[in-house]
Amino acid sequence: MNGDRVRGAFREGRTALVPYLTGGYPTLEGAREVGEAYLEAGADVVEIGVPFSDPLADGPTIQETTTRALANGADLDYCMDLASAFSGRVPVVFLLYYNVIFARGDERFLQEVAEAEVSGLVIPDLPVDEAGRFAELAAAAGVAFCPLVAPTSTDQRISRVGELATGFVYCVSVAGITGVRDTLPRGAIELLRRVRARTGAPVALGFGIGSAGAAVEAAKEADGIIIGSKLMRLVEEGGAERAGGWLREVREALSGLVEAGG
């Protein structure tokens, strides 16, 4: 199944690098260049944000990119096209808010993303309590469901998330919204350990990883690192090239960690 590719990207002894890009930002064509730069830098999975008018879980950096992307005319169909550009080479996951899915219809949406070879879904406003039926449909469509856990999640909830995760478990590093932070928030490592103890699914850390140092720190416990706001800010400042260049540094820092750690 297509969804199995998400787990396949998390290989033993290598921290999966999952860079995020907002579909349609900085331009419809520019987003493709950003994705290409990520692939060249050694991305293991590409996460595409499908723009939504009211992105509750996102901080100002990503909000600005989605506002711009919507103004550029980016929509779900465009994002599926964009996914097809990369999905032959790496698995693609969508990050999107539930209303965009619901407006298309759960089943039709799943069928279409499966056809576009989107391997997995991260839906920040669909917690496990609301996700039951959708997760079943996604499993039937062969699309991996990647639910989130937060530092405020109880152990019991973490176990439920672990059961529903057919892709990776997305650990939110901090009680907060997306944004650039230089150091890894306290409690992130602790959360990773709690999650690990309760699921066999790969565990990826996101929200606020803004430096190679923080990525290396997180990689000691995480199977994968998700980086969004920092990369979007670099795209804003210096385009795809700048973002790709920085991502390569992170990739190298993570590889060094693996070698050093044996």
Partner: protein
Amino acid sequence: MRQETEKGYFGPFGGRYVPETLIHALEELEEAYERYRDDPEFGEERDRLARDFVGRPTPLMFAERLTRKWGGANVWFKREDLAHTGAHKINNTLGQILLADRMGKERIIAETGAGQHGVATATVAALYGKECVIYMGEEDTRRQRLNVVRMKLLGAEVVPVLSGSRTLKDAVNEAIRDWVANVDDTHYIIGSVVGPAPYPRIVRDFQAVIGTEIEAQSRESLGGDPDAIVACVGAGSNAIGAFHPFVGRENVRLVGVEAAGRGLATGEHGASLAEGRLGVLHGAMSYVLQTEGGQIREAHSISAGLDYPATGPEHAFLKDEGLAEYASVTDEEALRALQTCSRLEGIIPALETAHAIFYAEKVATELGQGKNMVINLSGRGDKDVEVAANALGIGSEEVDAVSGPDPSPSTSS
């Protein structure tokens, strides 16, 4: 029928579509509410403040001249405009500050559109000595400067929201983001019967005092239930509060009035029950104004309090079950009703309320003489005089004409 159909839902509506980080806080809030709602000490404190601080019960007043003009059912006003801070909003903020206090939260946040809920929140935060931050769309901070000043006088910090459309829905987004990041010490006092469970139920329960009083006062003045209750519906808190005890009683018509803005056909309105599609906004499944692709549309209404692109999940449920009926009224019609009410009854109603008043004429006529109709007079119109003046072309010349020549500088100071 009168409670949730299952926990957190009203039929298919409601739920808890929020980031995982908030789930714990919502569960904590739910637990606290369950613990305190029937706690005698909590009830005593709430009732005492409702009486001494808010001025409850608010009167049920016979609107004699309006009754005569319309020639139909007797018109009664439930005078929520006489509640402290000038609208029903305080019923909810008072209840929630009591909860926040018992939960040990020292920081209060809220969103506001026109500023009424912001003022009501800042008011109770001041009463309880809590830090208070109000999110308000930048656009609205300019349109409602007076309320910004009121909030600041009450000690609140007002944060202009620059994201998205810079109006109420973006202020809600920003408040939720703040809450996600500060969930340990912060309570979010949401302003209406919207948001993730348990908010729609908690806000409904705190606003139900309106309906409970209408019920008791009607028994006294009318000898029984009124034949109809009419209330305006933005997100829907004053309407749900007025309707609540009467839901399911076949002898009482419950009528909610949405904002038709510049007309439903123009697409510039706030009538999400009439024109919205099922969707998720701010954590709940309900009727939402949205594009085909699921992007949230901006609402429009001359009254900022009805300028919201969704309606509370319980209204969606009442509508689908046929337990309440919903209509809509344009900006222009609301302005006409504002004038009529001001001149005939000596009450300048809020523009929100004016929507209900306009449609009530139709209901009164349908009911006919001898029947009784209650309009929930949800708020007073002081905040709207500038908007009304602009819309009605009441310029300074006319003000001069009415008030006579300018007083000389020496007497004006």
